[in-house]
Symmetry: C2
Subunit: 485 residues, 2 copies
């Protein structure tokens, strides 16, 4: 299976765990069997490998996320880097060209495209494989995954398929009719989510099962924009499915479309002229114009964890990090990335999150309105994952910034210099080799290195290396960095 | 006026703003006219000076608080240092001897003793002066201040005075009777705190006023231990007053008592044998055994700000530090000492407090039950005020601790060394002179000094000096410090 994972987003809505560099898919909140935590992107990557160990996974993303991806998934993962933001059609075209020209995937093979950030279970990946196989072997140009709605959401587009429309029109007992009955039964479930499935008579339950296996694919009749609540309800009554932006196609199909719309020769050419491309979504440029398109029903778990409210629902335990909750707390989730404790007393229905970026204390329902407030907050990056490790700002004073730098074993930073600041490194643990203006020097705890503005420097870690870096200068900025080969 | 301010307490109940070093009286939360904040001890010291610019103020406290007192009040304040904790009788005896032998206050002068941490207004200090004058010129050996109760509290002891007992017994219209009527009127106020004073008829109000001026002093009949609620109500019905631990006496009186109970010659002798003294409270050793004792009624504001609930009531504005509250927050107080923002959304009746020590998010009512939880939390000191400035831990890693050190202009730390750790100083702002093993060196931003374990070092600030100090060693402890002259 070939997969393109779309990894975007700036992640304001999960502040302070996300920032302009760390999007929500990189937050480690999912507990693994070994007690450590993994992020959405790590979870999805691991699950793909479980279902299909030979899958070719390519992550389509912006430059800013490359370090975090390499940090979390290693250096072997394929990355199609968007030089700048140009919406989903250019991004998918570029990633498809990457697969064809860089990964040498034959153009009659199929690829499945999906966002990296929904919360899903293993059955989702099995379904992705089915979707991909259908695109490879079927007759449709595009095969979309349609998620069975669990509620009349206003935040998704909807897919109307041949089955649902037919059902509503005829209401008969042909194959379409079975679908109709099944859809109505699902509707009952939706409208009364507390209801036990046993309320459905056996025949209906049986029909549901048959429908799920029998009518897996159907031609798409139309797409509906994000509706209001009443319209959403009527869509559900018609058996409509959510459009989750998950679809599969043969490489040749999207390459042809790309050549129709963009003048380019191959991947490198497309990459180099990427900033000249018009911003346009894949839905608008391709999906909505395609008549030979199918939808595949998916009834498994598929959740957007885009708000604190939904994210905390997916947490296996109420606390990550150091925290004490007294017994008068109810429905409280704490994520504490600082190294001092959180104490919560008598708090209800709330999320508490502390990171180097800031501290959020929010009623869960209120947390979905966070964005405008975060927009007001100074967006200085206080922590970041790099390909070689991570850094965390530990003190900001006028004319200086102090940073805890951690290098992973065997990794090193790029050779670089700064124009406007001096730096002092104090090694606090581990060992490695530092280079200053071409002179190498072994480093170990207690060693101090000073770099004046303009001096080229880097360090390579033999074992995990921790350094307290004091930056001193009138204008300290992440943009003051010159890279050297 | 001579005043001894008792400054004690470890301050667990206001965690994370207080810690084992910073007791509640040093927390800066009271806004001054110039927009800066002052602590309880600063507020009290300033108010004493306003009422009596010539007052001799001596603070009786433990060694651990001396640095914070010098930092907040300057070097000129008199401090009677208790070498170890021995309860209030030895502490007051020592401070009294300090006044007599060090400050050379004549032994027939009076002194007033009061805790440093109640929240009071200026009328309190006028009352202290009246109390002190009465002790100097009156016949009683001890003159106590009795606070008019505002509710039947279970956490104070009560003072039964001649007036109230007499009133209850006779209920006539003599002078005692006026007291009785007044007391009943006050009782009405207590029982219906929402009631407007205008509900009292004019004659009663007049009597109240007359009583307050007329019956300012009265002999004490008895003391009552902290009662349960029902008993407290009955005390209020008898016109009892709270015993707030505020009293005045002639120096000679307590010096005589001290010589009766302790074998010592003068202040220095008492100081040197302090650790051999028996722990005993002043109430038990002196007050409860004294028959010639008066109480002075005080009806002004007198509040214990010992819990987050009461402390936040005294805050002039809901937020100190960087914080954003959305409009769905109700009755929320935020104190944020960190340099990253707090965002609160939809939170009600809560206090949020963030410091280098930790983060508290508590329902206000629940906050009074904080102590056992704080007892469970690692009590590593993360910030402290020193006589020369302050320090704040900014990172803790295995084998190292990084500290932001700030020296006030013109101040310097003691010459010292450490056995088990090396230190690296990076100067980030200001200038001054450092000394390492006797060698002086001017320092300015960008300078780096390294001290190996065993090397004596200190620094003196010319202007405000900020230093990032990296401590490196297997056993890092505040106790690993050798002072040199």
């Amino acid at each position: 299976m070939n997969i393109i994972l779309l990894s975007g987003g700036s992640g304001k809505r999960l502040w302070p765990l996300s920032n302009d560099i760390r999007s929500k898919q990189f937050i480690k909140i999912f507990k693994k069997d070994d007690g450590t935590y993994e992020s959405m992107v790590q979870r999805m990557y691991r699950m793909i490998r479980t279902v299909d160990p030979d899958a070719t996974v390519t992550i389509a993303t912006s430059k800013t996320q490359v370090s975090a991806i390499n940090n979390q998934l290693g250096e072997d993962v394929g990355i199609s880097i968007e030089p700048c933001r140009r919406d989903t059609f250019p991004a998918i075209a570029l990633a498809t060209a990457y697969l064809a020209d860089v990964m040498h995937v034959p153009s009659d093979e199929a690829v499945v495209v999906c966002p990296v950030d929904p919360y899903v279970e293993e059955d989702y990946f099995t379904a992705l494989k089915t979707l991909c196989d259908r695109a490879a072997s079927g007759n449709a140009n595009l095969v979309l995954m349609g998620m069975e709605p669990t509620y009349p959401s206003e935040k998704y587009g909807y897919v109307m398929s041949d089955i649902c429309e037919a059902n509503v029109r005829h209401g008969d007992t042909t194959e379409g009719g079975v679908g109709n009955t099944a859809t109505s039964a699902q509707q009952m479930l939706v409208e009364n989510q507390e209801a036990d499935a046993s309320l459905l008579d056996e025949a209906t339950q049986q029909m549901l099962v048959e429908n799920q296996t029998g009518d897996l694919f159907a031609p798409v009749l139309s797409f509906k924009e994000k509706p209001d609540l009443e319209t959403a309800k009527s869509y559900l009554a018609q058996g409509a499915l959510w459009n989750g932006g998950v679809f599969a196609y043969k490489l040749s199909y999207v390459l042809d479309k790309a050549h129709e719309l963009i003048d380019f020769t191959d991947y490198n050419d497309l990459f180099n002229k990427y900033d000249t491309l018009t911003k346009i979504s894949f839905d608008y440029a391709v999906v909505e114009k395609e008549s030979n398109i199918e939808v595949m029903r998916f009834s498994g778990q598929w959740k957007d964890l885009g708000t604190w409210n939904t994210l905390t629902e997916a947490m296996e335990e109420p606390v990550i990090g150091e925290a004490i909750l007294n017994d008068k707390c109810e429905d409280v989730h704490v994520i504490n990335e600082l190294n001092v404790p959180v104490l919560a007393m008598g708090i209800k229905n709330a999320v508490i999150c502390a990171s180097a970026q800031g501290i959020l204390v929010s009623d869960k329902e209120q947390s979905s309105y966070i964005k405008p407030f975060v927009d007001k907050i100074d967006d200085r990056i206080m922590f970041s994952e790099k390909s070689w490790g991570s850094y965390r700002v530990i003190a900001v004073e006028e004319g200086s910034m102090t940073v805890m730098v951690t290098l992973n074993p065997g990794h090193g930073m790029h050779y670089h210099s700064h124009k406007l600041r001096d730096e002092v490194w104090t090694i606090i643990s581990g060992n490695g080799t530092a280079f200053i203006d071409g002179v190498a020097c072994e480093v170990k705890p207690g060693h101090v290195l000073t770099m004046k503005a303009g001096q080229k420097h880097k360090v390579e870690a033999t074992t995990e290396l921790k350094i307290v870096e004091v930056q001193i200068g009138d204008e300290i900025s992440v943009h003051d960095k010159i890279k050297w080969v």
